[in-house]
């Protein structure tokens, strides 16, 4: 049996595991997860009003249950994989934060796959002031353990009437929808009760989505943008830039890709000045964030100052590498600024010697999922990467699925010529180091059932246990 350790338990981890388990009967997988709960961004990233997209967790659940029965899959939750020196602190680690040295994984498993995603939000450089991160907002709405206690902070933020969201990607739309939609539309979902309370009190009426680049660089997907134009309570206020060339006639531009064309079609077909709803939203382009302006007395945000930009005139404003010229400054009044500039991967703590990391691109250097030595470009035996930590934080779940298959195919090809290493002990080799019980898949099922029951009492899908200690207590009581 080849012993495979996967770090992370989101879509990349599960799709890679799925392909390996289904393709070979002599592979067993242990999935190491820092949090107590599996499924990564399916649980903590997908927007609460997109519950359909969360159904993929059912697939992962089937997979885990099936192969656990076969003895080829094990979930190891509440265990953070770190560098050796960090792991020495294992004795002091709290019940919920067990640490495992990466080197020990390498020693005990034939194959180690890094599939832990891109968990850090890119920060918005500002001369003055600090924006709220969309990452934190999404985590809070999704009941991520790191957002515990954030409700008071967000209650304060949501006293603003106008919110500016910087960034034109799907996360920005997720944020805007939560801010604009009627909170009642979220009451039956898995948004925690205390978050719903805060959202119900929100004063936000107007959201402006602003980007440094132009309309043809919008990174929305058509589905999400269309959904936005159909919000029942919020009108789309068209920006007059779209009535000018070349944006006006985007349909007939031969050099424009299908995707920006469709986004433009959606915008051109939307916006009805007569049907003013109680809330509204707008898109702005060619504005580079400069600083946040505060009221001198109350210290509350009164505006965000942008530097206007324009594309170099000799070039068509198309492609991600668009060149911009800075122009004059302009203030946009608002009470809340949220930055949504995307995510970047992080290295495992203190693992730089064992697991290469390219800080510039925020990914683990690899060729088709085979982790390579950045100096020699040679693959490091038995070490792989999958998902956002492999290719950067772009693409929807389908893209991660293809990506995971690529990594799994690389592994399968390498295993063709390999024999299981008898000295690799797998879980037996690390158990002593864990210093206690990790969260098993059955443990997660206990928490899952608890959350669903609590949800049912409230007429919701589930009521998430946000606090990690409470979650561990429920798991310990139920999973004997």
């Amino acid at each position: 049996m080849f012993k495979v350790a996967v770090i992370g338990s989101g879509p990349a981890a599960f799709y890679t595991a799925q392909h390996l388990l289904k393709s070979r009967s002599n592979v067993s997988i242990h999935m190491f997860e820092k949090l107590a709960t599996p499924f990564g961004l399916v649980r903590f990233g997908i927007a609460a009003d997109h519950q359909d997209a969360k159904k993929v967790a059912n697939k992962f659940d089937e997979l885990a249950t099936h192969y656990q029965k076969e003895g080829r899959f094990q979930f190891v939750g509440g265990v953070e994989v770190v560098g050796s020196e960090d792991a020495d602190a294992v004795a002091n680690a709290s019940l919920s934060q067990r640490r495992l040295p990466f080197s020990l994984l390498r020693k005990n498993y034939d194959v180690v796959i890094a599939a832990y995603g891109a968990e850090s939000a890119k920060t918005m450089p500002l001369k003055q002031g600090r924006a709220v991160s969309a990452h934190d907002f999404v985590q809070w709405v999704n009941g991520h353990p790191d957002s515990i206690g954030h409700s008071d902070m967000f209650a304060h933020h949501l006293e603003a009437e106008t919110a500016v969201v910087v960034g034109h990607g799907n996360v920005a739309l997720d944020v805007a929808r939560v801010l604009l939609d009627d909170v009642d539309s979220l009451r039956r979902t898995d948004v925690p009760d205390n978050v719903l309370q805060v959202l119900a009190e929100s004063k936000v009426r107007h959201v402006r989505l602003v980007a440094r680049r132009g309309p043809f660089q919008m990174a929305f997907t058509a589905k999400e943008l269309r959904e936005m134009t159909k919000l029942p309570n919020a009108s789309y206020m068209p920006n007059e830039l779209l009535s000018s060339e070349p944006y006006k006639s985007s349909d007939s531009l031969p050099w424009l890709d299908r995707s920006p064309k469709r986004l433009m079609q959606i915008l051109h077909g939307s916006g009805d000045a007569k049907a003013i709803k109680s809330k509204s939203w707008a898109l702005d382009w060619y504005l580079s964030p400069h600083q946040i302006l505060q009221d001198e007395n109350t210290k509350s945000i009164k505006a965000i100052q942008f530097q206007k930009t324009s594309p170099v005139s000799s070039v068509v404003p198309f492609g991600s590498k668009i060149e911009l010229v800075p122009n004059e400054f302009v203030d946009m009044p608002c009470g809340l600024v949220i930055s949504s500039l995307g995510y970047t991967g992080l290295p495992l703590p203190n693992c730089s010697e064992d697991l290469p990391f390219d800080a510039r691109s925020g990914v683990i250097p690899n060729i088709q999922g085979r982790v390579i030595d950045p100096a020699t470009k040679a693959p490091i035996e038995g070490l792989y990467a999958s998902g956002w930590i492999k290719r950067g934080a772009v693409g929807v779940i389908a893209a991660t699925m293809y990506d995971a298959v690529e990594t799994a195919d690389s592994i399968l090809a390498d295993l063709e010529t390999a024999k299981p290493d008898a000295s690799k002990q797998g879980f037996a080799g690390i158990q002593a180091h864990l210093g206690g019980k990790a969260v098993s898949y059955d443990g997660w099922k206990v928490l899952d059932e608890h959350e669903r029951k609590e949800g049912a009492k409230r007429g919701k899908l589930r009521e998430k246990v946000v606090d990690l200690k409470s979650a561990m207590r429920i798991i310990d009581m139920g999973d004997k």
Binding site: Y15, H19, H50, D52, A53, K55, V56, N58, K59, T221, A222, K223, R226, D257, R258, S259, R262, R391, V394, G395, V396, I397, A398, A399, M401, Y402, V405, E406, D409
Partner: protein, 224 residues
């Protein structure tokens, strides 16, 4: 994000060479037996499977109603490779191992890719290159049909048109016979830019089979 391999492999079919091949072999097939349209369709289909297996994943074809009687099993009747006999064994040339696929098609192997013979019988080219033909009922979508016949086709959102993981590839000529997808479905096809060549098709809530029947059954006859 663009998945270059998939885009590339899907785009291959959309070349003049293949279009010419399509026409040539369709016409040739019809010469054999003018009265038995179904036979001809099979010939043509087999040719394409054989040819495209060497270069891309597979494709999907629509043809005339099949004369084959389904064997009933577990709700949906199934037919297994009846076509092989009728088309002179050409199907035996179809690779049954994925090793005969090139690198591109291995990369897309997480999606099952199909050939639709007619509006009731659907042939799926599976990940290992083998073909499975099953019968559909009105209103079934291809995702449900695949799952109810143990054909692997990823469908992360369980057919709620939310994830775009259940892509299939179909033959361009027949793809164009379908009505325009709804805005909602078209939007999903933008995800990952998989539809750059209008060859990939999302099979979630769209009832392609019903859809095709309503559209124009005569169009199949016109192919002759």
């Amino acid at each position: 994000m663009v998945h270059p391999q998939l885009l590339k492999s899907a785009a291959i079919v959309d070349t003049d060479e293949d279009d010419n091949a399509f026409t040539k072999y369709r016409d040739k097939a019809y010469q054999y037996d003018d009265e038995d349209c179904d036979y001809n369709i099979e010939m043509f289909e087999c040719y394409n499977i054989k040819k495209w297996n060497q270069r891309t994943s597979a494709q999907m074809l629509l043809g005339a109603p099949s004369p084959y009687q389904p064997e009933t099993s577990e709700g949906l009747p199934q037919v297994h490779l009846n076509t092989a006999k009728r088309s002179g064994g050409i199907l035996e040339d179809v690779p049954t191992q994925s090793t005969t696929f090139d690198r591109q098609s291995e990369t897309v192997s997480s999606t099952a890719i199909l050939v639709l013979i007619n509006n009731y019988a659907v042939s799926y080219i599976q990940q290992d290159g083998t073909k499975k033909t099953v019968y559909a009922k009105d209103g079934w979508n291809l995702l449900d049909l695949a799952h109810s016949n143990n054909i692997e086709l990823e469908g992360a959102c369980e057919g709620s048109l939310a994830c775009s993981t259940c892509h299939i590839v179909m033959q361009k000529e027949f793809y164009e016979k379908l009505e325009e997808p709804s805005d909602e479905e078209n939007d999903m096809l933008d995800l990952g830019h998989l539809l750059g060549c209008s060859m990939a098709f999302t099979l979630t809530s769209k009832h392609i089979l019903t859809h095709y029947q309503n559209k124009d059954l005569d169009s199949v006859a016109k192919l002759k």
